[in-house]
Subunit: 132 residues, 6 copies
C-alpha cells in the first residue's frame, strides 16, 4: 500500500459545552495542524498516489471553511460537539467528497486524518473507502 501525506494548519474558536470538558466549556480557541494521508494500492501512471498540488488544493479548500471561524456557529457542527475527534472525521469526509469524482480519487483505498492539538496530544480518524 502506498500513501501520500500533506500537512496544513488552521485556527478556530469554539466551546465544548459539556461538564466533561472543564475549562474548555467556555469559548476558547485552538490551532490545529492537520496531516491528511491518501492511501492507494497501486500508483497512477505518473507513479504517484495523487497530485500533491491537487491534494494541497483540496486540503486548503476544506480548511478554508474552518479557518478563523467560530465553530459554535458553523453549520457542520450545529447541535454537535466540535471535538478534535469529530473535527478529524469532518475533514476526512470533506476531503473524500472532493476526490470522489476524479480517476485518482476512485482509486483511493482510504483517507486518514491526524489533528495535532498541541505537542502532547493529537486525535485521528481513519476512513476506509470501499468503492466499486
Amino acid at each position: 500500500m502506498f500513501s501520500l501525506t500533506v500537512r496544513r494548519h488552521f485556527m478556530i474558536a469554539h466551546s465544548l459545552p459539556r461538564e466533561a470538558f472543564g475549562p474548555a466549556q467556555g469559548l476558547h480557541g485552538a490551532t490545529f495542524v492537520a496531516e491528511v494521508t491518501f492511501r492507494r494500492a497501486e500508483l497512477n501512471d505518473d507513479a504517484i498516489v495523487v497530485d500533491i498540488g491537487a491534494a494541497n488544493g483540496i486540503l486548503e479548500e476544506v480548511l478554508a471553511d474552518l479557518n478563523y471561524k467560530n465553530l459554535d456557529e458553523h453549520p457542520a457542527f450545529h447541535g454537535k460537539l466540535s471535538t478534535t475527534e469529530a473535527l478529524a472525521k469532518h475533514i476526512a469526509d470533506a476531503v473524500a467528497d472532493q476526490v470522489t469524482d476524479t480517476p485518482d480519487g476512485q482509486a483511493l483505498a482510504g483517507i486518514d486524518v491526524v489533528l495535532r492539538e498541541n505537542p502532547d496530544a493529537w486525535a485521528g480518524y481513519t476512513l476506509d473507502l470501499h468503492r466499486s
Copy 2:
C-alpha cells in the same frame, strides 16, 4: 476508526546483559517519550474516544511506576530483558488493565504504544482488544 494519542516522557536506568547489546550490556540510562494511542470505532456521547484528562492520568500512573527507576530491580522485568520493544508492550498492557472496567475502556478496539528512544530510533507495540 477514531483515535486519541497522549504523550509523556520518563527516565530509567537499566542494563541489557546479552552479548547482542554491546555497550548497552552495562548499566546505563535512557529518556523515553511514550505516545499512547487509544483506538475506537465509534465516539462516546461526548464525541470523544476517551476523556483526555483520564487518559493522561492513566499514562501518568503507569509511567510513575517506571520513572526514575532501575528496571534491573523492577518486578515486571525480573528475569526479562527491558528492551524498548518489551517496555512498549509493558506500557500497553498496563494501560489496558486500567481502562478495562470503564464504559469507554470497554469500547476500545485497541491501544498502541510508540516509545521514542532518540531522534533516529523508536519501537512500538500494537495491542488489539477483542472484548465481548
Copy 3:
C-alpha cells in the same frame, strides 16, 4: 553563559481588530507553545540555572492566567493588541516578576520567550535583566 528552557502550551481566544490582521480581526483562537529560557552567567551551588520544578511552576502559574481565556476581556490587554509578540513580552515580564525575589532570580541575566504559533511561524521577546 548558561541557560535552562522549559516548554508549556496554552490555548486562548482573541481578536485583532486592526485592518492589518485580515481574517484575524474576528474572534478566533490559537494554541501557543511557550518556550521560556532563563539565562545566567554562573550556576548556583546545585550546578543549575534555576530549579526546573520551580521554573515549571512559575510558567504554569503565569500561563494559568491566560489559558482558556478570551484575551479581549483580559485586564493585561485592555486597550492593547494581544499579538504573539505582545504575548511573548507579557509572559517574559510576568515570569521576571515572579523570580525577582529569590536568590536564583537575582542572579539571572535574562529571560527569553519564544511563542510557537504554528509549524511555520513563531515570535519571541528577549528580556535582559540589569539588576544591581
Copy 4:
C-alpha cells in the same frame, strides 16, 4: 504486533519529466529522511524485533546506493519516474531483500517506509511479507 523504526537521511538529484510535475520536470534535488519500520508478531530471544545495529547497517547500505546520486542515471529508475512514492517502494523492497535470509528476517511480518520530503509532505509504502 511489535515494531522497530530507524531513521536516516540521504540527498539526491533527479528530474520528473512529466507535465504533471511542473517545475520539478527540470533537474533539481532533494533531501529525504527515511523512516524504516520492521514489524513482527513476536520478539526474538533477545526481546527485540531485529538488532538495531543490523537494521541501521542495512538501511545505510541501501541508502548508500542512492545518496549523492543523480537518480536519472540510476539503473533502478531507468525508464521509470523516481517519485517519492516509487523511492519508498524501492527502499522497502531493497531492505526486504537484505533481511530475507536471516532468522529475524524470516520472522518479519512487514516493512514500512516513510520518506519525509519537507515539513509539510511525506510519502510511504507498506510492504507485507507473506513468508511460509
Copy 5:
C-alpha cells in the same frame, strides 16, 4: 528585543567542486528549510515586528529565485561555492534588500537565517542592520 520568524522550504540542485566536499563534489540536490527571523527593539503601532503576510511574501519571492534551480548556473553563485552557510547569507541579504525601504524595514535591528539541511545539521547567518 522582539522577533518574528517565518519558515519555508525550497529544493535545489548544485555541486560543491572542492576536494573538501567528498561525494558532494558531484551534482546532487537538497531540500532546505529556511527559518528567517526579523528582530526589532520596539513593536510598530499594530504591536507586531513586521506584517507576517508581508514577511511570508518576501521570503516566498526570495526563495522563488532559488527553488527548483541548479545553483551551479545561478548568477548569484557564479564562481562561488553555494554552501549552506553561503546560501544563508544570500537569503539574509536578499530579504534585507526587500525590507529596506518600508517603515517596518527601517526599524529592524537585524535578520537571522537558519537553513536546516537535515535533522542532524543546519547552518545560519546573523545580519545586524546598522541603519541611521
Copy 6:
C-alpha cells in the same frame, strides 16, 4: 556572524545527590540530544564555518567519552554534579579543546551547546572564544 550546528545523541546513567533533585537523587539515566554550534565571523576559503565531517568527528569523539557511561564514576565529574547545565559546559569545553589547534578552530568566535533532555526541557552553554 555565520554558524554551523551538528546534532548527536548519547545515553548516560548518573545520580544527582542533592535534596533539590528529588527522585533524581537516585541512580537513573537519560538520553541527551546535543546540538553543537560553531560560530565564526567570516567563512574559510571553502565557504564554510568548519568541515562538517570534522565537526561530526569531534562531537562523536567527545560524546564517546560519555556515552553508555555512569557519570558518577567519570573523572570529569568527580566531586561535581553532572547536571544538564554542567554537561553542556563540559561538552563545549571539550569541543573547544579539540578545535583549538586547527586554522578553522583559531577562527571561531564561539561554541554553543544545547542539550535536549526531553521534549519539554533543555539546557545550554555559550562559550565565547577570545583568541589572539
